[in-house]
Subunit: 400 residues, 2 copies
């Protein structure tokens, strides 16, 4: 099988290892290195409280060339005050020393528990080991994917290959879930690599659009983390003529990137904390697209809908209740609801339908809920997951 990892595009060496941040001994630190210098674009959480890693990374993203990325799991370095900021700066400085570049040419991301100061001794030793163990292998890429996991049960990777002006261009990505997912500009930690030669401003456009259409459409618990970071790096080594305009090449690239990110989003949904099922909420007939997105999100975030999906229970009344309590305008006399293709509510009236069939739909590993608000022509969607006893167990016992 082809390399699915972030080392698949040309020019990226990677390392993932365990340095002792996690008590479990699982992998918890990773470094990405692009020897030729990469162009980078990133999107971040819009939470008002952010990790020092986000503060520092946001600054460094402005650099023309990025040589390294350092990421850790097991500790978010958030609500850690001045010490947290110093530690974030140190992480970049140490990585830069190892990679022989400037600290501002290193990006940074942390994920894990909030409010604990980073164990810098472990991290120092981890960075020192990582920078001398870098490799182009799929195994190294997989280790990096493992090193950013928190409550994920499996690493998440995907890659895509396209032809641009006769040259092979590769895109790849890895992402971590699996709780506190309900972002609002960026999401979770996500690292995307490519070798497509293109301008930095287009790279910015591409990541915003791709994350907006994929990871930002997923809600596990409606919770926007303090650390959400998605980074797109290109080595530019594919050999294609440098793309600097929104032309057909750019369109092909963004389509592949969207598809890749959608793949990662779905992997996150299927591995969301405690989740056993995912569902897609499609809102049609909204007055505006913003309202369609609000209504879709309201349904996907509604605990009672999520519980019903967990029980394989076609309790569509809760879906209607959720859209009704959202800020999206609706016409109660035109409201219509479908589970996959089965209409259960039409123009404000319940429809006699086969309850057994409805239960079967809701019991599938994936199904689609469609609600027509009866107001206009705008549409949008959102991915959601079921709420389970295991979600509670995982999150009641995470800290101690």
């Amino acid at each position: 099988m082809a390399n699915q990892s972030i080392t698949a595009p040309k020019g990226f060496q990677v390392k993932g290892l365990s340095c002792g941040i996690k008590q479990s001994g699982n992998l918890d630190l990773g470094v990405i290195y692009c020897a030729t210098g990469a162009k980078a674009a990133a999107v971040f959480t819009t939470n008002q409280v952010v990790s020092s890693a986000v503060d520092v990374c946001r600054e460094h993203t402005k650099s023309a060339k990025i040589y390294g990325v350092v990421a850790n799991s097991g500790n978010a370095n958030t609500c850690t005050g001045k010490q947290g900021f110093k530690d974030a700066v140190s992480m970049c400085r140490m990585t830069a020393q190892g990679l022989a570049c400037e600290p501002a040419q290193v990006l940074l991301a942390s994920t894990g528990i909030i409010g604990h100061v980073l164990p810098m001794k472990a991290i120092t030793s981890g960075i020192q080991q990582a920078v001398v163990g870098l490799s182009y292998t799929a195994k190294a890429g997989l280790d990096f994917a493992k090193a950013i996991m928190t409550t994920d049960t499996k690493p998440k990777q995907a890659s895509r290959r396209i032809k641009i002006a006769g040259k092979d261009v590769t895109l790849a990505g890895t992402v971590k879930g699996a709780g506190m997912i309900g972002p609002n500009m960026a999401t979770t930690l996500c690292f995307l690599t490519t070798d497509m030669a293109m301008s930095k401003s287009l790279l910015n456009k591409a990541i915003k659009q791709a994350i907006g259409n994929s990871l930002n459409k997923l809600t596990v618990d409606g919770h926007q983390s303090t650390n959400d970071t998605a980074i797109l790096l290109t080595s530019g080594l594919a050999g294609n003529p440098n793309v600097t305009r929104q032309d057909a090449h750019f369109a092909k690239f963004t389509k592949a990137l969207n598809d890749l990110c959608d793949d990662l989003a779905r992997q996150m949904a299927l591995d969301a904390e405690g989740a056993t099922r995912m569902f897609k909420v499609v809102i049609t007939g909204a007055a505006t697209q913003v309202e369609a997105a609000i209504a879709a999100r309201a349904v996907a975030d509604y605990d009672l809908v999520k519980c019903a999906v967990n029980g394989g229970d076609p309790n569509w009344g809760r879906i209607i209740c959720a859209v009704g309590s959202s800020k999206a305008r609706l016409n109660p006399d035109k409201l219509t609801c479908k589970l996959d293709r089965l209409t259960v509510f039409r123009h404000g009236q319940p429809v006699k339908c086969d309850v057994k069939q409805a239960s079967q739909i809701v019991s599938k590993s994936e199904h689609t809920i469609t609600v027509n608000l009866g107001m206009g022509k705008a549409t949008d969607f959102c991915y959601g997951v079921d709420l389970t006893r295991d979600y509670v167990t995982i999150n009641a016992d995470y800290h101690t």
Copy 2:
């Protein structure tokens, strides 16, 4: 023990019985009767999708005199289209016939499953039995409290007695929980009775204020039902001079009503679906009171905070994450968080504190989370409950 039920104030006869709406055979229909005619005020859900019961009740609340209230549990009569509206009108007409008044002088409330047409045969027989079985007893009041229960494990009642101009004035109320609680103007079903002589416009002021300060401050799952209704009836039989202005008598009455409603809200919290613990979120230092309320609500609705409380886990980072992702403005460098009196985070810096003591606080049946946003002087609060495996179980299996 004194009568705690809604028959405690002078002038109210009540009946609660089982007519077969619930398959369990539990009580599911109740009637309140005020032979002298009561003044009434009510507040309702602000969900865009509402029960036909709400549509009809909202109209009837305008009547100068109300003789009866009919309520049922086991079926919300919501998303039931034209048939639902006809059935709501029928319920008032049948009750009016039994009580010898006009249909518009009967108020109405329904609660239970959404999307199912009412079993009108059962309801017809229930109303016919109820209107001939009315009684002033505490037992009858308790039966009414039971007849509005859905997933509540116990009936909820409270009463208060005050002196107004030398006369005994009694206030009493009953309320039902226990899920889909996250109202935004009114809440759940709540029936309040009193014998205080006062004007209808003051009655309106009193209920809005009391519900705003109590039931509206409680969130179980952030879900605003389609049926939320709170009704305040006064027989005016206490013998006090009729209160028509916002004077000291009115202040005394509203204080008692607020206290009564707070008591009911806390009973709801402690009996919320699956809940084992409740907590109070107090926001201080907000720029405005609206923002304080938004931030308090954000914390109380945050699944990860609710899970942490369930696990007795002082994971205060999630509290900070919740306020940070709310629309309330905050100053990250001045943010402070306390669990009861224990400061865990001060001016954006974690505070070394006794983790065991913090765990003990969070493990109590009730504790207070205080967050200072560092912006201004406004304050507000909210009640929340823990999220448990039982909540999921109850709501995964409710329908079928």
